[in-house]
């Protein structure tokens, strides 16, 4: 069971390496690219968490645009033009 899972995971890992061309590069290069990918992911995650999530929270079914905009500009200190 576990072996099967490992096998499937390693197969799809191989396929992932294949489509990103990481299959044919050296090990340290692969690690570098994965670090870059992770950093990008974290940055996006942080951006989503801090900016998009707070914006999304303001958009509720009852809220009109007029409610959202001044509040946001006050709360986050952003200037909306």
């Amino acid at each position: 069971m576990l072996d099967n899972l490992v096998e499937i995971a390693s197969y799809w890992w191989f396929r992932y390496l294949m489509v990103t061309e990481l299959y044919m590069v050296e090990k340290w290069e692969r690690v570098t690219i994965h670090v870059i990918f992770m950093v990008l992911f974290c940055v996006f995650w942080y951006f989503n968490y801090s900016v998009l999530l707070s914006l999304a929270g303001l958009i509720s079914p009852g809220a009109a645009m007029a409610d959202i905009l001044p509040e946001m500009s006050v709360a986050s200190g952003l200037k909306v033009t």
Binding site: E7, I8, S10, Y11, F14, R15, L17, M18, V19, T20, E21, L22, Y23, M24, V25, E26, E29, T32, I33
Partner: protein
């Protein structure tokens, strides 16, 4: 039919002879022809035996170099151990003696099934129905570009951090660099990573099977070491369309005799002391073969294009060239200084647009005066696309606009048409309608060189003006003899049916292989009758993975990547041959099927034929 221990020339003869005689012996004869197991095994053992201490270690690593260790696929993982035990040095051990559907066996069987569109539609529509250029799926296109950018980024990082392991010149301070920066960057950091898939040294005749010399790389392709072992592979990479590349048989015998009587070279050009009876006979034979008035032969196929186009064209000429034309044509056009306009690949509407513009507006560099000559330049079979030129339509256009037509039949001569006379034969057009016929002897004839054929006047003009005729040394006698013997065989002038059988076998192999591939669901390009079969894999690493995996399955193929194709369209190119048997193709198709599943090559969205393909 091993060139390894037997000889394909004789085998062809023998088995055809038996075919003509009694049908009962056939499976046996064929089985014996496909390389006997004991011999193959013995030879390989023999190759490994007398090695020292270090070499067994190297030979163990034959497929365990860094490149190969990473080929782990679902199925391979599961039964890798079992397979390794069972795998014999010969690549299709158990199928050797099975009676089969090979053309030699199924003599009285009906012809291979015709395409459904045949004879129903107009020739133009039929041609485009048989030609397939499937669009790349969007996600694959995006991934390919992403991958390419990643490779570039990694290349720059690598170059920044490490000194590349290449030879550097000393004492060159202050000099400008001699080499193009991007090209050397590309070959160091993209091509080098999968370099083991190209430039592979071989050590046998490239018949239906060949022997690869194994090598390993410990530093990701910067340098290679020979392991001292050899791998016998099914050859799907050489342009040996009619299987005339052989070390034995009538062609080889006559060439040998010629070499014994006339030596190997004349050490002089045709204009000086290099002209001889044999070459003149070769020229008249070539002209007869093609059905035109006269022909002229040269010692190198590439040079035939590159050096003769400048003598036919000059600065005030217009050339309309297909976008997929070969490098030799492009080089020749650049040398000639003619105005070159490119039309979309095999697109007659675009050709007519470019042609009309050229004829109507004249040469803008010359104040809009008409061009001296207008010439259309196309190839018979496009070697990277596997497509066939739409010759009848081009001839109609050429007559309409009074342009000349130069047809490069490098791949199609011998391989196309019921008499092997190239695309003119295939389309049943008069070869005299094509002004200049060009072709090579390198491919179907299993020799070297090229020819130009056409009217007597044209050839006489070339005899006085061509650089390749005046300055290149004349063709070596055994090479010319190989051309003549194989050409006579194809024409049936040797009194046998071998030539016709070979042509039929090639056509049959081609249709079978292409249809089976389409059924597997991989994307192939080109016309279904062209023996060049490019299979699209798109990504660089997939080129590498497919070539490496097929090598472990004992199949040698050639990959083609960016400089030769657009960035996005990496491909594997199979070249079929009359020397292949059905089992060999089946074996290859089986391996390709497995690999296509494992590596995800089945991109095609076309409906697949559910019925089994009849050979």
């Amino acid at each position: 039919m091993g060139n390894f221990d037997g000889d394909s020339g004789t085998v062809f003869e023998q088995s055809y002879a038996t075919t003509n005689g009694a049908n009962g012996k056939l499976p046996n004869g064929n089985g014996a022809a496909i390389g006997s197991p004991s011999n193959g095994g013995l030879n390989l053992n023999h190759a490994e035996e007398p090695r020292g201490e270090a070499e067994p270690f190297l030979s163990q690593r034959k497929f365990s170099a860094p490149a190969y260790t990473e080929i782990r696929t679902r199925r391979c993982n599961a039964n890798a151990a079992a397979e390794a035990k069972n795998r014999s040095p010969n690549y299709h051990p158990e199928k050797r003696s099975i009676a089969n559907g090979h053309a030699k066996v199924l003599r009285d069987h009906e012809e291979t099934q015709p395409n459904k569109v045949e004879g129903i539609l107009s020739p133009e529509v039929e041609h485009s129905q048989k030609t397939s250029f499937e669009e790349v799926p969007l996600h694959t296109a995006c991934l390919t570009y992403l991958g390419f950018y990643l490779l570039m980024i990694l290349g720059y990082i690598n170059q920044l951090l490490f000194v590349p392991k290449v030879a550097t010149e000393k004492g060159r301070e202050g000099y400008v660099t001699l080499y193009d920066a991007f090209e050397s960057f590309y070959s160091r950091y993209v091509y080098r990573r999968i370099k083991d898939c190209w430039n592979r040294p071989i050590c046998s005749v490239p018949g239906d099977e060949l022997t690869l010399k194994d090598r390993v790389s410990d530093d990701y392709g910067w340098s290679f070491k020979f392991t001292g072992t050899e791998t016998r592979c099914l050859n799907l990479g050489s342009y040996n369309y009619l299987g005339f590349a052989a070390a034995t048989g009538p062609c080889a015998d006559e060439s040998e005799e010629k070499a014994r009587n006339f030596g190997l070279a004349y050490c002089s050009s045709r204009c000086e002391l290099g002209n001889n009876e044999q070459l003149q006979e070769l020229e008249s034979l070539t002209a007869r073969y093609l059905g035109v008035e006269d022909a002229i032969v040269f010692g190198m196929g590439f040079a035939t294009n590159a050096l003769n186009l400048p003598s036919l064209l000059g600065p005030n000429c217009l050339v309309i060239s297909d976008e997929k034309n070969h490098a030799s044509i492009i080089l020749g056009l650049r040398l000639s200084g003619a105005t070159t306009k490119v039309f979309k690949h095999n697109n007659m509407r675009d050709l007519e647009r470019v042609l009309r513009q050229g004829v109507c507006y004249g040469n803008p560099k010359n104040g809009g005066k008409p061009y001296k000559k207008v010439m259309i330049l196309v190839e018979g079979i496009f070697s990277m696309e596997g497509s066939i030129v739409r010759l009848p339509e081009i001839i109609a256009l050429k007559k309409k606009y009074k342009a000349y037509l130069y047809l490069d039949e490098a791949h199609s001569i011998g391989a196309m048409g019921s008499h092997g006379k190239g695309v003119t034969d295939y389309f049943n057009v008069d070869p005299k309608d094509v002004d200049i016929l060009m072709g090579t002897f390198t491919k179907s004839f299993g020799s070297a060189g090229g020819y130009l054929a056409g009217t007597k006047k044209l050839i006489d003009f070339l005899r006085t003006n061509s650089h390749a005729h005046c300055y290149a040394s004349s063709i070596s006698p055994p090479i010319a003899q190989q051309i003549m013997t194989s050409m006579k065989t194809i024409m049936g002038e040797d009194g046998t049916e071998i030539g016709r059988r070979k042509i039929m076998q090639l056509a049959r192999n081609t249709r079978y292989f292409r249809r089976r591939l389409a059924q597997l669901g991989v994307i192939t390009y080109g016309h279904e009758d062209s023996p060049v079969v490019p299979m699209l894999v798109y990504l660089f690493s997939k080129i590498g993975a497919v070539v490496r995996t097929l090598t472990t399955r004992h199949i040698a193929v050639v990959g083609a990547g960016f400089p030769a194709t657009p960035i996005m369209e990496g491909r594997i190119r199979f070249c079929l041959s009359a020397a292949h048997t059905k089992e060999q193709l089946d074996y290859a198709l089986e391996a390709i099927d497995e690999i296509a599943d494992d590596l995800g090559l089945k991109y095609s969205n076309k409906p697949r034929d559910p019925n089994p393909i009849i050979y």
